[in-house]
């Protein structure tokens, strides 16, 4: 196989390949979490890894989010490079004490004496009719916390490439994998490797309006951009990728070209990441704006089970299109 050969992979496989590569490349790396071993991962990400690497490095844990996330922090401080999987972002609330009071603070609280080279992966987002305790996007809450790095791989390349530098980061890195992405398939170079974990990415260029999305909403934004192009509106699509620290400059540079922004965020509107991005645009690019910043967020309800209600609660491409058309005018 040549270096540039393309292979068809799913997001799940890309993530698994990244974990496998990390396990092969560094003895300090191990994976722990609920059902990562014998079950193969709740979403199948770690399937086969227990057989390959054994129970010392692929560790099934009790349903003790606080204990195993905290153990990840301690292990990182003790010289390991743990990858901790929390089944969903809703469950990470059970470990929030460890994430907030230890992972995010010990480096600072100790006057810089201790690094916390820890990676926590978790599934986020809705769209699979799993209702109000498994569907939420709480990235915005966690993005509030200084001391953490938050990533949202929305593409195969990011699923494959973000983990490597995350493990090299001496700070806690939280990776949010949107549940709807695991089955996404596409082509990746067989030798696809590490990607940066600092910058947002422009996924599509356009001059009339900037659509800002991340994780699960990137596809919504791309779909909206396609529809807008049909109406003569060229939308630029930014994939935030890094939710903390936010890459303001990519967003502001885009606004300087398009002067209009729609932010698509699966979190609830109030106090959301979308609110933060909007505020930064207001602070840094107010005089570039040709229309008020628009937000397309989830409806402010716990996620309902019924499919039609769930879809109604989630950001839809049609809403994005309507917002963009409204602010661009006739186009």
């Amino acid at each position: 196989m040549s270096a540039s050969a393309m292979v068809t992979v799913s997001y799940r496989e890309a993530m698994r390949a990244a974990i496998r590569e990390a396990l092969l490349g560094d003895e300090r790396v191990f994976l722990m979490g609920e059902d990562v071993g014998a079950y193969g991962g709740c979403f199948g990400v770690s399937k086969g890894l227990l057989e390959e690497f054994g129970p010392e490095r692929i560790r099934d844990t009790p349903l003790s989010e606080s204990a195993f996330v905290g153990a990840g922090i301690g292990a990182a401080m003790g010289g390991m490079r743990p990858i901790v999987e929390v089944m969903t972002v809703n469950f990470c609330l059970l470990a929030l004490d460890q994430i907030m009071n230890n992972a995010a603070t010990i480096t600072h609280m100790s006057g810089g004496q201790f690094a916390i080279p820890l990676v926590i992966r978790m599934t986020t987002g809705a769209g699979r009719q799993v209702a109000a305790q498994h569907s939420h996007s709480l990235e915005g809450w966690l993005a509030h916390i200084p001391g953490l790095r938050l990533l949202a791989p929305a593409t195969l390349a990011d699923a494959r490439g973000m983990l490597a530098l995350s493990l090299e980061d001496p700070n806690p890195v939280l990776i949010f994998e949107h549940g709807s992405l695991y089955n996404m398939e596409g082509e990746l170079p067989a030798d696809a490797g590490a990607v940066d974990i600092e910058r947002a990415a422009v996924r599509r260029t356009g001059e009339h309006v900037t659509l800002i999305a991340y994780g699960g909403t990137l596809s919504t934004a791309m779909q909206a951009a396609d529809e807008l192009a049909g109406a003569g509106i060229e939308a630029e699509v930014i994939d935030l990728r890094v939710l903390r620290p936010l890459d303001d400059s990519t967003v502001i540079e885009s606004l300087a070209r398009t002067h209009r922004a729609v932010i698509i965020d699966e979190g609830w509107r109030s106090g959301s990441l979308a609110a933060e991005v909007s505020a930064r645009i207001m602070e840094q690019a107010f005089y570039e704006l040709d229309a008020p910043v628009a937000r397309v967020c989830s409806a402010e309800v716990p996620m309902p089970y019924a499919q039609h209600l769930e879809q109604a609660a989630l950001p839809q491409a049609s809403t994005v299109v309507a917002e963009a058309r409204r602010m661009v005018g006739g186009g």
């Binding site: 107010f286 040709d290 229309a291 005018g329 006739g330």
Partner: protein, 393 residues
Amino acid sequence: MPSLGADMTSGTLLEWRVKPGDAVKRGDIVAVVDTSKAEIEVEIFEDGVIDELLVPEGTRVPVGTALATVRAGTEDEVPSARPVPAAPQPPEAHRLRASPIARRVAQQLGVDLAAVTGSGAAGAITKADVEHAAAGAVTPVAPAPAAPAPAASGAPAPPPAPPATPAGEPGDRALAMRQAIGALMARSKREIPHYYLQTQIDMSRALAWLAEENLNRPIAERLLPSALLLSAAARAAAATPALNGFWVDEAFRPAEGVHLGVAISLRGGGLVAPALHDADRSSLDELMSGLRDLVTRARAGRLRGSEMSDPTITVTNLGEQGVELVHGVIYPPQVALVGFGAVLERPWALEGMIGARPIVTATLAADHRASDGHAGSRFLTLIDRQLQKPEEL
């Protein structure tokens, strides 16, 4: 708020120089106003005692707003009645719906947002609307009710008063000045049917006389060629009434004297054209000192109101910049603008012989409603004649 220039629709009262109870006499400076082009001292035109200051410092009000009340007599007298109250302030105009970048671009391009029709959400003015308006690409289907009636008046009805704002930062001032110049020049080109004439003038005699004259003067009192040009233009204007005055209310109104507006460029960008009063009757020395004084005060932002509102004809001299020729844009409601380029050595044929002579190109831009080419030609010819007899200037 006095009108301190045809383009001024409102001003910010920067500073009071008097307080209630002060005795004032005609000509006293009572306040300083920012017209957005310059800070200008406001004179009072009657004698009396300041009774009440109606507009606080830092407030922007429309032209015509009473700033203070003055009672007749001396400060010992008790007023017999309450002074006439100031005209009620117009209610604050509805804030235009315009995007931040539309406002920014409008300032840069000198576009009056009140005259732009918005195409954005809920009728908001967008950047594109402003750019179209600046390019003249869009004519509103129906003019907004508040928009000034086209043409006609030398003092058009002011657009709705902007909300009171404190005096801006220097950067804002420069933007505001560009906006004001832009609005005035656009109005000039829109309303005034310009015609243009030009002639070349041999400056040999004038410069020779000047060199001789300056030999006997201390450096500080030496005359510059521009003094000769200004004097010649002023005297020519006095002899050509159709070029010296104002187009107001669909008619030409000749001016009483010749108050020569001199265009002065400012360091931060932009320009002003304050008056040299009675220039046709001033000596060269008076013109020189008057010019120096105006330049100094213009650049310090301290011109007087009358200097801004009184010019009857304007001279622009771009000779210092090295250009040969300037076709000017008339300052409404004036009807003529004289331009001088640089004095340059040029081949010059005289009595069948070609020689090198110092030549200046004089131009005239004039309002065809007030005069025609005949008057204009005569005017330029008069300037030439004056400059051939410098000793009479």
